[in-house]
Every structure is written in C-alpha cells, then in structure tokens.
Amino acid sequence: MSTSTFSRTPHGGPSRTGPSPAAGSPAPAGRRKRRRRSRPVLNAIAVLAALVWVFPVYWMVNTALVPTSELFTLTPRFVPFPTSFEHFSGVLRDEKFWSALRMSAIVALVVVVLAVLFGFLAAVAVSRFRFRGRGALIMLVILVQMLPAEALFISQFRMLDDWNLLSSVPGLSLLCLGGIVPFTVWLLRGFIDGVPVELEEAAMVDGCSRVGAFFRVTLPLLGPGLVTSSVFAFLHTWNEYNLALIVMTKTDHATLPLWLRSFSSETSATDWGGVMAGSTLIAVPVIALFLSVHSRMGSGLVAGAVKG
C-alpha cells in the first residue's frame, strides 16, 4: 500500500527531483521551531557518530604514514607527524601493485559494463512487459545472495577449468557478473518503474518508434539508477577475494585483494605500515567514486528499494 503512495508523491520520482542526501528536505516551520533547542545537541551527536565511524579509516591512513620503527610503541602514535612516506612510496614502486591495479580495473570495468547493460535490458523487460516468470525476479535476487560461496567455488573452479577460462579476465568477470547482475536488475527496475510509460507514449504520438521513444525519453532519466548500479557492481568486483584467489592461478594475473596478501609472510611479520598504505590505495578509487556520485546515489537507493 505504502509503496504506491511513495511512487506517486511529488518527491517520489527518483529520476527527477529525488532528494539528494546532501541537499536534504526543507523542514516545515513548526518542526523547525521546536527543534531549535535540541539542535546543537543533535549536531554534536552526529559529529560524534561521524568520528566514531571514520576512526578506523583514519587509523589506517595514520598507520600508513607512521614510520615502521614507531609503529610498535606501547603508546600509540595518534597523529602521523613527523610523516613518513616510506610505506606509500614502497607500494608505488612495487610493479606488482600496478599490474594488480590494472587487472582489478579491467575486470571491474568489464563487469560494470556488462552488469549494467544486461541488467538494464532485463529491467526494461520486467518493468515494461508482462510475461510469465516475471515475478521470479525478486526470488532470484534473494536466492543469489543466499548461496554459500564457500562451497560453490570448487565447482566454479572446475567449470572454468573445463572451459579453459582460468587465469583469464573473462573467467573471473563471468563469475563476478553472475553474482551481481540480479541485484543490478532489481535496482534498475525500480528506476524504470519510476518513469511513467505515458511519457514514452507521448513521444510515440510525436512520431518516435517505441524503441526510439524509450531511448529519447526514458533513458536520460535513468542517470542516477545507472550510476547506483554501476557503483554496486564495481564495489562487488573490486573486493572479490576468494574467486580471484582460485581463478587467477597465474601470479601476474593477481587482483588487488590478492596482492594485498604479499605484506604478510612466514619469515617476516605482517608489515602493518605496508598493508595500511596498500589498503589506503585500494580504497582511494572507491572513495573517489563514491564521493563523486553520492548525491545521485541517495535517490538511487530508495528507488531500487521501494519498488521491491
């Protein structure tokens, strides 16, 4: 019931004026007055929560910037001054980092493009057509999330082995794609639902073909949806560890999460500074991506979710 209320409110169209988390919604006057007294307190709580959440991230960067000789002191170093870039420069000089970065980027790119393309096509079908099996979608999304990956990857390995796809971008991409694409369909479908079909029909009256109308009218409104689903697909692939471990048997095909293991070895203890510098560099592209699109994602998430 409430679902329909959602999709029809003036705020509901994710494709148009979807509220961005950054912009926020204007508070009505009455509420504002009442809130005035408690607002400084609430602001303080919000900032405190932000600090608590961001602290481990800060600690990662801090550790990466503290010289190794000072890491194992009984009083932690809370600020990275004097700063040492030994860990970062060590990572940046490591050619294996660059080859892993390249590999991760390629696989992520392939998966993002295919997931969004395939997901989009299927979302169109689910949103704009009625056909048998359409309702199975949500089941598929949930089911895929439920599969215990820890047993599946033996079968996945044997399958790729049979098909000569081990240690290859297509092999790893295929497995990552299968894991994320149902989620992509589900997200995008919410967006397409949000664009009234009448808009397309109006364009068709003006002489567009149906396909043309779709591309000219609906597609441009789907920006936030495409962005959101790309980000999810990217994150999924960028972080994949177990599958990459067994699929990429050749060491020069290692992805970033695999490369990160090179900091712990049997003969020398975990190089915490190096791991943290490596981790920071792995997280940077994701954070950059998030920050650049985050205002569009807020509306993206809700559109995907409310449409079930």
Partner: protein, 317 residues
Amino acid sequence: MTTDPGLTPAVPAARRRHRRTQLTPYLLVAPVFVAVIVALGYPLVRQIVMSFQEFGLRQQFGQAPEWVGLDNYRTVLSDPAMLRVLLRSIVFCLVCVVLTMVAGTALAVLMTVVSRWARLALQVALLFVWAMPVMVTVTVWQWLFDSRYGVVNWLLSHLGFTGMEGHAWTADPMGLFTVAALIVVWMSVPLVAFMSYAGLSQVPAEVMEAASLDGASAWRRFRSVMLPLALPVIMIVGLLQIVWDLRVFTQIYVLQQNGGSTDDTNLLGTAIYRLGIGQGDYGMASALATVVLILTLLLTWKYISTLVNQQKEAAAR
C-alpha cells in the same frame, strides 16, 4: 492516498503490450538469465551432485567419485557440533542485524534533523566506511584490537580499565564474536543508514506538517508517520542484512586464524570452508552448503513472501 494524475502506474499500457509481443521480454532477460545460470546455476547443480558423492582430495586429483546417497547429509545433520554452529550463526546473525538496523536507522533519523554541515560530515564518514574493501576492513580492525600495540586496549586501559592492558580479544569465543560483530555492524551501517535516510526523506513535508499541526509529538510523528512510510525500504535492507549476516565468512575466518577456539567460533560460512578446503572433503562441504541454503530459504520464507506479495499487489493495481 494522494494521486497525481500525471503519474499513473504503467500497468495498463504494459498489459496492452503483452498481447502484441511475446518474445521480446524473454530476449531482453536472456543475457542476465544466461549469466546467472552459467556463473551460479551450473556450479550449484554440480555442487548438489557432489553432495551425494564421496568427493575428497583423491577425487579432486583424479579418482572417480563414489555415490554415497544421503550419507553426507546424514553425517552433517547428525553431528551435534553442526547444530551448535547453526544456532550460533542464527544468534550471531540476529544480534548483528538488530544492532545494524537500529544504528543505521538511528543515524538516518539523525540526518533528517541535524544541520546541513553535520549531516554532510556524517555522510562523508559513512561513505568512507562503505568504500572500504572487506579484506582491508578486517586488517584494520585487527590492528585496532592488537593486544599490545592496538589503540583500543590503550584507550581502555587509560580510561581506567587497567585489566585491558595486553588483553587478547580474539583468544576467547566471546571476545572474537564481539570484535567480529563490531566489524560487521560497522561496515553494514552505512548502507542501512543511506537507504533508510533516502526512504525517510521521501516522506512528504506536507504530511509531516499536518501531523505536527495535529499536535503529534516528535516520537509519535516518527512512529506513526515517518516509519510506516519508510518501512518498505527498511524491510528490504533488513532482509539483505539477514541473508548477508547469516553467511558472514571473512571476518570470522581471519580472526580465527589467531587460534584459540576454532570449534567454538565456527559459523556456517567457516564451517563449510573448513570442511571443504580445510579438510578436503568437498562432498560433505557441499551437503552442508545445500542444507544451509535450504535453511536460509526456510528462515526467510515468510519475509520473502511478504515482499513478493507486496510486489504483486503493486503490479495488480
């Protein structure tokens, strides 16, 4: 229910089309369908086949597997340790989900009431957390909880808990689960907070205003107006969290490697992994994985059917 005539649902038009085209939707769905079948469906079938076989390392290296019928299932299900693993997983999952949902929704509500700059600070912090890869997260948290050089013990011992100096968190089951749950909650909250916030902020201002004029208290406005409207979003996120937290693996596995109480800390994910890769008994691991899958379905069945019904209702309108 307010109805905006410009935005009537797409269903009638879609129905009209249904009669004209039969093949198109299937063609559109085909790539996704194929990708899922190839990447997951086919391996899943192989896994289920394996669960009826004696399939260990010898078989992996070339011996012909032997059919053993339901033996693997019988062994798995009659093992009291497995029952404990199962119960532990459910409890761990519920604790994590509840904490995550409460914290996430609370932060979302907080975002709706604070000043713009405070909201932005909170959102950027959460984005940073969300962007952290799992492996990285676990590594960082291990470092935070390092018994001697970790910042957590340092802080606690300076706050007066002198017993915490040198405390090895992951050595006993409760400590390990505490750290693991903290990691899981910490990294899941951002998604929940963003989605809930997106849901809450779609509550139309007029509705809130009306409620406010009616003299509803802040709590009542939240409970009776905002929450019901944002509920579908929160429910979906909740379901995803349940499913994800039931199969949490990396966090537990990495912490377990410190040794201490593997038997007492195994959850479903690590139990499957230790049976399969650890013991090289893929047949048994497959059987357990299949049991887990069925169980997850049973546990979430009501939840899913509610969602599916919601969807059907929406479609029927």
